[in-house]
Amino acid sequence: MPSHAGPPAARPGDVAGVLRLLVYLVLAVVLMVLDHRGGWLRTARAQVEVAVQPLWWLAGLPSRLGTSMREDAATRAQLARDNHVLRNALLVSGARNARLQAAAAENERLRALLGGVERRRLDVQLAGILDIDLDPTRQRLVLDAGAREGVQVGQAVIDAGGLMGQVIAATPTTATVLLITDPDHAVPAMVARTGVRLMVYGGGRADLLHATDVPLSADVRAGDVLLTSGLGGRFPAGFAIGTLGPLRPDDSRAFLEADVAPAAQLDRGRDVLLLRGYKPPAVSPAPCAAGVATPGCAPAAASAPPAGTTVATPASASPMPAATPTATREATP
């Protein structure tokens, strides 16, 4: 594609060149706006991303090689030592697990007595993270497993610490995960101690989340642990999201806001777990069922996001829960 048709010495007043630039700029702006607003372009983009997979694979190669070389170079003594440490860790977790299982069984019995819904067992799939750096302004990960391994768009992604994010695109061999720290992401949360419901938004950095629009009267303290509430139907209830930092009044002075330190390890280079077989509870009959163990389910549901809408489309996650505070904000001054 010859782009510079003129002689080697560029003429300063080359109108055609400027026009070509303008055409490209307009094209770029149109693409950016369309992509930013989501919709069909985002879907089309997921299709085209199949084409860049070899690039991802190649870029991930050095670190994969490095890992395998390190593993090959490990000595017997090292392996024996690792084995010993891991065995001990397994013993401890096994003991803890046994206690938890008793509690879970008891919980199940009590739940059956109360006539509540039974909670499904955790069914997970292990997936490796493709070790590449994506655009630093966006909080995304690429997984080394795709539709061929049964990964589906919308699956929740967790690690040992807690919730990491959700799958937003799946190609045959890779999947893109939107992390909860992405500014486009929102999670319906509840405070583990009191059951107060909040929305937690991504802060755009790997170690930062925001809880906004916390009512002044809510029983929320710094240091409270936030769990997924299960509302919205995207994430099952009860996964750790993070720990609340100190609360401060927001710009309107009518609500509080706080930073949240994520519970999961959100940097790359580890394996993650994909939740499988979680079917969001049917929307109509019992919206409270998902947010188990929350007292005052019905009134809280009004301020919480409506089931099925909020988190399903990450980009448009904010409007609903933010609706109330904005109205108040305009009314305050």
Partner: protein, 159 residues
Amino acid sequence: MSRSRNGWVLPVSLLFALLLGLVPMPALLQPVRPYWLALVLAYWVLEEPDKVGLGVAFLLGLVADLAFGALLGEQAMRLAIMVFILDRFRARLRFFPVSQQAAAIGVLLVNDRVVGIGIHLVLGAVQLPWTYWLAPVLGMVLWAPLHLVLDSLRLKRRG
């Protein structure tokens, strides 16, 4: 310019630049990752303007946006602007000594950061921390070696 050339260097160098943008780096070094794609593209615009121009820059930008998972069109726009300016001053830049060329590339990379910030401001996206302003400096420093390497690859050695 009657020397025979290695035709494969152009696509391979661009592909390599794309890969270098994706290769994982420690979090501390991430902000100073130079914009390899812009550097390599700048070299080709200066040396072979018949092959690399606005169209190539735009398409390459789109591929990079897809590969980096960035906003579609962002890098296409940034690279198009950069190539346009380079093309305008090509006649002069080509005969600059390498040190002055590097300075000009540094200014272009800074301009590129400004354009990027502008795009993010307009769309309300996240801004990068200030440490990312160090990347153009590193890009400037890397211009001379990159120029040397690509030159030696592009022009077949004789004898």
